[in-house]
Amino acid sequence: MRASIFKYSLHGLAILAIVTGMVFGFVELIPHGLASPTPRVTLDASRIAPREIEDLTEHNVVRDYGLAWCSLADAREQNRPELIDAYFTGFAHDNLKQAIEDQKETGVRTRYIDSAHKLEAFFYAPGGDAMELRDTAQLQRQVLDGDKVVHEENVTVQYLVIMTPGADRWYVRGLQAVPPSK
């Protein structure tokens, strides 16, 4: 009787240890994979031309642009350039990758605490192979040197965005901040 109580207690402890390990493991994963908050993205395609945007495309552009910013935030905070591969391509990818490599070299990191993006799509190529949008982004970000915050800012930045379709998603091919319009 005592032996079986002991045995069940051991089983219970083992299960508890596994569950605790999983919980802590998940929490440990957060800074590496799920750290950045999902950006809020809205899209106004009422003035898009010359091709009309399809419902599914509209949905996918919003989804993929948000995920692109999520990957950008993670990559710039963790100094892991490979994180941008899934949603950036072309010169946008190359520039961003270089900036992250530079961050890594200098020990600088950029943390995006919050971001909201108001997208306005104004060009959709007749062949459906490129889209140009303007993003009015509200960004709250910190610049860190090592673990020390050296600067914090809350800014509104306008971006000119070029997106192109891939097999299963829209990629950010151009992401260029433009001076605020007067």
Partner: protein, 290 residues
Amino acid sequence: MRTFFKIGLFFATCWFAAYSAHGAELQLPSTVVANSAVSIPAGGSGQATLYLLGPGHVAKRQVQLGSQIKINPEEVRDAGRYLVILRSGDHDDSGAFYVVAAGPAALSFLDHPSRVPVAENDAISAVAFVLDKFHNVVLAPQTVNFRLTVKDAPPLLRSVTSRNGVAWALLNSSRKEGAAHFDASLGDIRVERVVQQVASDPCNLRIKAQPTPKGVLVETDPVRDCSGNALPDGTIVSFTAIGPDGKSSIDAPIKRGVARTVIPVPHGATISVASGVVIGNEIHVGGGGK
């Protein structure tokens, strides 16, 4: 009086301390053309750490206050927003400036589709993004010329002014089949693509029949589109025979401009021809193929 003097001296000291701490003030240009040197006057004295965070470059270095801080042209090649932080002790000053594209130096030209039927309106789309030599999108309007050239035919030309860095046009395909040279140009910049123009749907699809021991040899006239271009070999032509024995269909590819097949029709039939969405003539053959 002495007390007032001490209080005054205290405030003056505080003000001076605050002023000294605030010595690294940044005066930044609002915009800079890509690949231009930037000079930032930095007041104060001693050393400070400069952080420069741009879209494609991040730098951190020690600088001397009280002189001009130089940012090299190669550090500001990518258009976008650059954040500058000057940190001295616990005090930091910051500011931002924008780098805008230099003059146009390249075109990113997308044409669609790569194969197009002849004589179709707005069948070819041309999209050109105007870039500088650092691959930044040039936002200032530029005139982009699109030209579609087919051998022995006058070229199709279209001039378009770019907006937000992009110029686009829809062009008709020409009436003659073959490889069309399609180029986009801006000043000395020229990008060329090739669009294969292929014959359109057949026009006046006609067949003739001839009895043979094995059945009826059915053969089309040379299959051409309405512009007179021969349909390429391999295009499928369907022959259908409907008679007392039922309905039978045979698909035959065009070879050397014509499609032919032998249909066994022992008790006679009506034979029709079609290719794609085009239906040709019908002929009636009697029993035994007569």
